[in-house]
């Protein structure tokens, strides 16, 4: 049957924090998932410019890449983030929705390797690049 991402996200899969940020499901494929983070003044990290903080982008990418792992695995399996690196290529333009696309490019029994980008309209001009790993909690 595989992993039903739309059902999962609709059933509260984003958790309280994802709901609080206003995360939305956007699209998915066999090993990738795309989420949307609508602009919200509450997320501003730099009041001088109105640019949102990096934290909400990390939270979105953590979830988008997690979903990519379950899509590639074909089922939900509890895991924890081992590490996640985010490179900020440029500030997201204030008022624009940020799109996060996470991809799982390699999976082993215990570790999943992920990467992804965040952009604010043009995927060829990303605002952030991420790379990370997840550890499966399955014994």
């Amino acid at each position: 049957m595989g992993f039903d991402i739309q059902r999962f996200t609709a059933m509260g899969g984003f958790g309280g924090h994802g709901r609080h940020l206003g995360l939305e499901y956007q699209a998915h494929g066999p090993d990738w998932a795309e989420l949307a983070l609508p602009y919200d003044a509450r997320m501003i990290g730099d009041p001088a410019s109105g640019v949102i903080a990096s934290g909400p982008i990390v939270a979105m990418m953590d979830l988008a890449t997690s979903l990519a792992v379950w899509l590639k695995r074909g089922n939900f399996e509890a895991h924890v983030t081992l590490d996640l690196r985010v490179d900020y290529l440029r500030p997201a333009v204030p008022t624009r929705t940020v799109i996060g696309r996470g991809e799982c490019y390699r999976i082993t029994r215990s570790v999943a390797f992920v990467r992804g980008i965040a952009h604010d309209g043009d995927a060829d001009d990303p605002v952030a690049h991420v790379a990370g790993t997840f550890m499966s909690l399955k014994p």
Binding site: A59, T81, L84
Partner: protein
Amino acid sequence: MSGPRTEIGQAMILPPYATLLGCSIEWVEGMPELVMPFGDHVMGWPGLLQGGAIAGLLEVAGIAALTHGLASEGGGRIKPVTVTTDYLRTGRDHPTRAVGVILRLGQRIANVEATAWQEDRAKPIATARLNYRILRK
């Protein structure tokens, strides 16, 4: 020495994102320490902290440490370049505390290490290496 530092502390304004996380500053030995209460707004799996909220708290701790460090040097703008978070332990339904330690504050670049813990500071739940671009006034 602690007098003027406290004054800087009282004047330190955290960005709206810090309010979204519900975090506040406590001054410990003249240095800003961030406290984030547990709640639905920072929860991932039921009863557990979401990784993004932990990374967010570490970021705010890094910004607070840098704002404090820059204050005595005339201030400046802070822009994140890279943030690498290592998750060490599960964040549970307790308040989380975090501090940033400036490893180097240069003319253009600042390197900060932030640590978050819950009940026992000797058992951190996550650490982050944060590299910033500094735009001095």
